[in-house]
């Protein structure tokens, strides 16, 4: 089961994820001016929201992570050493 964690400190409340999600997984919390997850069961883990989020404020847990063979292994190794 997919779980989406929103980092409220990072979220800038731009609403890009709300607009971009084809399955209306997100809604704006008007009081906090932050995004909130309302239909996690409809999330298909396409990760369009990750790509559009300017603050990288979300994390998807327990999803199928697609292969990324287009990234050089040397680049992946370098990133892994830094993070």
């Amino acid at each position: 089961m997919v779980e989406i964690v929103i980092d409220e400190d990072a979220c800038v409340g731009c609403g890009s994820c709300v607009e971009d999600c084809p399955n209306d997984v997100y809604e704006m919390d008007e009081a906090k001016n932050k995004t909130k997850v309302v239909k996690v069961e409809d999330c298909m883990a396409c990760l369009s929201c990750h790509e559009i989020c300017p603050a990288q404020a979300m994390e998807h847990q327990d999803i199928h992570v697609a292969k990324r063979l287009y990234i050089d292994r040397s680049v992946k190794d370098a990133i892994n050493r830094i993070i």
């Binding site: 883990a45 790509e51 063979l69």
Partner: protein, 184 residues
Amino acid sequence: MNGEIEEIRGTFKPELIPAATGGNIDDYEKALHTLMKFVGSMSSALEQVSGRGANAIVYQAGKRMGHEASKLMEKTDDLEKAMGELSEVLGQEFYFEMWKPSSQDNYTVERGDETEVKLLFMDCVVRQTLRRTGLPQKGPLCYLLYGYMVGAVEEVMDIRGKLDIDHVGPNACLKTLTIKWSGK
């Protein structure tokens, strides 16, 4: 190797393939990335020259591949069984599953003489190629998978089908496969 090109020298006989020509994973990685660039450039040039006709050309190529790849598969009228067989045909490089929104009870939806099923493509070499070349998704190259899927469905179910792209993302793409029963 420090960027130098290592030459393979040895004896070559028609009946033997020298082990050294197998290469290592670095060689495969470089070859894959070069191929991705070639295919991406080809797709982009095709679009520039032929406009929307590029989609039809790539679709046709994919469809032919789909027919070829599933020639030996067991024929069936059962859409869900066919999806299982197609999953084998497409393999790990086009790993997909049937998908439905939580408000829907079944994976298949009947509309008159048509049946629809939503397919979530999680692993896709086309998407990876586009990302390597910096090209947008939903372009001509995506029609390769479109054609491939339709060709495979037509071969396995002996029926007409079409695949529409609902949504594309960096980790998965949602497509709707429509089967027209009267097209048999």
